[in-house]
């Protein structure tokens, strides 16, 4: 049996349907799982993605002439294979790619998580024969708490600093994590949050999708001398230790990321607080997903793929690692 997906120098390729999934070099036909930069590159001739992803991808890559937006579950034929996109629970519009031919069903998970996230559609189990799964956090030390619990911790931190007259600058990825935090916090408070420009520009697509978030104000709209005492500011990690932060003084810094689970990683970066919040599957979610899909063959991409592969092999499952260019959640 010929494999439905192989890997070449441009990305994950489906020879039978002649298309790529998340290719990192320009190709003719690209199925894009989600709008993060290491999955949605520019330069392809035709794009296929979910309806929810489409505005975000075009906001980042510019207007795309040949883009087909699909509903979740809506099938599309590529020659002899039938392709459909299914919720991955990673960020708004994120998808798994289901590929079906007469030889069976393959699923490319893209980035995904099983933890509840009010800012996107929940992960859907797609039964398949072969699963290509991400493994960004593929070690049993990674174990997530519910986002709601993390939001409570963030709120408590905010509250403590508010009483001390300090600002809280919380660093997080501009697309997905920031909106998830705003959506989780909206269940606990109604105070407005200030945003770095990189995050502010990614709020409208979420609002358009009807995601309920805290009210936000771009920092760029404020007077230079505005006092941020007691306020919460969201910023991308690239702004950490930059002069942009001076206006918030006195402030404490926090970082919301799965990497904050390990003490050494936390201390090395020098944030005052680490909040363990990830948009990727943790160890038990990876195992749960593999089991629920019923896949009898698993390929693992990015992160600790070797560990997961060995674990699955010892349990009698056919598994191996795929080397891809995806970066997963960056350690920065």
């Amino acid at each position: 049996m010929t494999p439905l997906i192989i890997q070449d120098e441009k990305g994950l390729y489906c020879p039978a349907g002649d298309f790529y999934v998340d290719p990192w070099r320009p190709v003719e036909r690209a199925v894009i799982t989600h709008a993060h930069g290491d999955h949605a590159y520019s330069g392809h001739q035709a794009y296929f993605c979910t309806r929810l992803s489409s505005p975000i991808i075009q906001q980042r890559l510019g207007k795309l002439e040949r883009l087909k937006a699909l509903e979740y579950g809506e099938p599309i034929e590529f020659g002899p294979v039938r392709v459909s996109l299914h919720p991955a629970g990673h960020i708004l519009g994120s998808a798994q790619v289901r590929i079906e031919s007469k030889d069976g069903v393959w699923v490319v998970s893209g980035d995904y998580k099983r933890t509840f996230d009010p800012s996107c559609n929940p992960f859907e189990v797609v039964p398949c024969d072969t699963l290509i799964t991400e493994t960004t956090f593929g070690l049993p030390i990674y174990k997530w708490q519910p986002g709601e619990k993390v939001a409570q911790d963030i709120l408590a931190w905010w509250e403590t600093n508010r009483l001390a007259g300090k600002a809280c600058v919380l660093f997080c990825y501009a697309l997905g994590k920031a909106q998830r935090i705003l959506a989780e916090l909206a269940k606990l408070t109604d105070r407005p949050v200030y945003l770095h420009g990189a995050i502010a520009s990614l709020i409208p697509p979420y609002e358009a999708a009807g995601i309920r978030m805290l009210p936000t104000i771009p920092v760029s709209e404020m007077d230079k001398n505005h006092s941020y005492a007691g306020e919460l500011i969201l910023a991308p990690p690239s702004a950490f230790k930059s002069p942009w932060l001076r206006r918030f003084d006195p402030y404490e810094t926090g970082f919301a990321s799965g990497w904050m689970r390990v003490r050494g990683a936390k201390r090395r970066r020098g944030y005052d607080r680490g909040f363990v919040l990830s948009d990727h599957a943790d160890w038990s979610e990876l195992l749960q997903t593999i089991e629920e899909t019923g896949a009898h063959r698993v390929y693992a991409t990015h992160g600790n793929s070797d560990t997961l592969v060995r674990y699955l092999n010892e349990r009698g499952l056919e598994a191996s690692a795929l080397k891809t260019q995806y970066e997963g959640e960056q350690e920065e």
Binding site: L139, P140, I141, K143, Q145, R261, V262, R263, G264, A265, K266, R267, R268, G270, D272, R273, N304, T307, R310, Y311, E314
Partner: protein
């Protein structure tokens, strides 16, 4: 345990000294005194004898979870710490209501300490039961307490500041009350912060006054006649206490070493009662110091045999008098303290000597004389103002140490290993080699001396230039040369190179050098031979 865990995390995460002091003040002000006493015990670096080894903890965790060993090892490699790896793996999410109410002191007295008298099976049952009761953070603290490896990122000075703030007492008073042997009890803590001076424990030492490294030009010190110049001895800084017809000998690390040096302790009985001397214990023969390595033979011994006592004769070189006739003399000027000390020590004799004052007329003369340091087996000069009081801890201004430059060697990086804690995941432990007959022979391991940026860059390079792996050790392409500094060199049959370096550390990355330009083993042996020749007075 939750409050203590939170305190530990705060101290661990911040580098601001004020934030550290504030966190401690808040902690000590809100927990019961018996808990404060135990926290203080750990914050001041005191440790329980290791109750459970890391290896045992790991095996119990594997037994409890049925996890394969290789999977544990993969996890450990990403974390770099046994206590933390286990806590992350076993994390059940929350602390039970029952465990919430258990105080730190109750953990210590009723649970952790009694493990000593249990069989291994009973220990396993107890520890695995506790693991199920605690959330990840508290489990981490527990594991650290069990393995006796709780290291807190806080200096003694900051702890003293925090306690002084609570007690509304001067820091010098608190520093003194914290010296010596004390038990972490409710009574101790209450006494520590009480306004009244307590009945003094006769063995209690004074806080050592520590000199700071001299960084400014000598001329800024003014007239040399205002200063006492002494050789900087390479031995064990000690405080000798004679009170209540008893002798106590303390090392600067606050270890009681009375029994290690019986010739000193026994002879000290001739001192008048109520006397405290500050000085240096040295291996000493024919009125000359012997290398530190000789003294080391005395340190690790369980039993001091007659032959050891003969092989490594010792002396106590006194340089200060802190107490005389039961009176605290620390506020008197050094000149006066020293005069009285000289009189006492000359009468005493035996293994006691006065650390001699080096007579210099000018700083130029001192600079020339300092060049003799290596030949004399000393580390340079100590400069103390003659009118200085004896302060507590490291205070700048009146006592300076003026050390000679270290030895250096250019060596090639050959192995790398990931660090632990903050440096887990980063290759920060390096092994260096020099050239011998066209081969590279390892001579030293070094951990510190590079900037964070250099560490990152080297880490990146190591990952891409690994030739081989032995467990956690990476064999790298031998091409990077580093200048290492070290304080001494000694023969060693345990090392392939036949010698061992004392205190090796990285001075700088010599990117201008290739591996063929590294030093040879012959260079080092030459240095070693010179060393031996000098020491033997040849």
């Amino acid at each position: 345990m939750k409050a203590f865990t939170t305190l530990y995390e705060k101290l661990d995460m911040t580098t601001s000294t004020n934030a550290k002091v504030l966190a401690m003040v808040n902690y000590f002000a809100t927990v019961p005194p018996q808990d404060a006493a135990w926290a203080l015990y750990f914050l001041t670096g005191r440790r329980l004898k290791r109750l459970i080894s890391s290896r045992m903890l790991r095996e119990w965790a594997l037994e409890m979870t049925g996890m394969p060993k290789w999977l544990y090892e993969d996890a450990y490699e990403a974390v770099g710490d046994t206590a933390e790896t286990i806590a992350l793996l076993l994390d059940g999410g929350r602390t039970t209501d029952e465990a919430e109410t258990i105080l730190l002191s109750e953990w210590m007295m009723q649970r952790i300490l009694p493990l000593q008298n249990m069989t291994e099976r009973e220990q396993y049952d107890a520890v695995t039961r506790w693991w199920k009761m605690l959330d990840m953070r508290e489990m981490f603290t527990l594991n650290k307490l069990l393995t006796g490896a709780l290291r807190v990122g806080v200096s003694q000075n900051l702890v003293v500041r925090a306690i002084a703030e609570i007690a509304e007492q001067p820091t010098a008073v608190i520093a003194h009350r914290l010296m010596g042997n004390w038990e972490p009890t409710e009574a101790f803590f209450i006494q520590l912060i009480s306004p009244e001076a307590e009945v003094s424990d006769i063995s209690r030492p004074y806080p050592f006054f520590l000199a700071s490294p001299l960084e400014q030009p000598l001329e800024t010190l003014g007239n040399p006649a205002d200063w006492l110049v002494e050789w900087k001895w390479d031995g064990i800084r000690s405080q000798l206490i004679r009170r209540g017809q008893e002798t106590h000998l303390w090392s600067r690390g606050e270890d009681l070493v009375t029994d290690r040096f019986p010739e000193i302790s026994d002879h000290a009985a001739l001192l008048p009662d109520g006397t405290v001397l500050d000085g240096e214990i040295l291996a000493f023969q024919n009125e000359k110091p012997l290398p530190f390595a000789v003294l080391q033979r005395r340190i690790g011994r369980k039993k001091l045999t007659k032959s050891i006592l003969e092989e490594a004769p010792v002396a106590f070189l006194a340089y200060d008098l802190l107490e005389f006739n039961h009176e605290d003399w620390r506020e008197k000027p050094l000149e006066q303290r020293r005069r009285q000390m000289e009189q006492l020590v000359h009468q005493l004799g035996g293994p006691f000597r006065v650390s001699p004052a080096v007579q210099v007329q000018s700083w130029e003369q001192a600079t020339v004389l300092r060049e003799e340091s290596r030949e004399r087996n000393v580390e340079g000069f100590m400069l103390k103002r003659l009118d200085s009081t004896y302060q507590a801890g490291r205070k700048r201004g009146t006592w300076w140490k003026w050390k000679i430059d270290p030895y250096t060697v250019d060596a090639v990086l050959i192995y790398a290993q990931a660090g632990s804690g903050r440096r887990a995941n980063l290759f920060t432990d390096y092994t260096f080699a020099v050239i011998h007959e066209g081969q590279l022979v390892p001579i030293a391991k070094a951990y510190s001396g590079l900037s964070d940026k250099e560490i990152q860059r080297l880490d990146n390079w190591i990952r891409r230039h690994t030739l081989d792996k032995y467990g956690p050790v990476r064999v790298v392409e031998p091409c990077h040369v580093f200048e290492l500094a070290f304080e001494g060199i000694a023969q060693s049959s345990r090392h392939k190179a036949g010698l061992a370096l004392r205190f090796p550390r990285i001075l700088r990355w010599r990117e201008d050098k290739t591996k063929d330009e590294a030093d040879t083993l012959e260079n080092l042996h030459q240095l070693l031979n010179n060393h031996i020749a000098i020491r033997e007075g040849a």
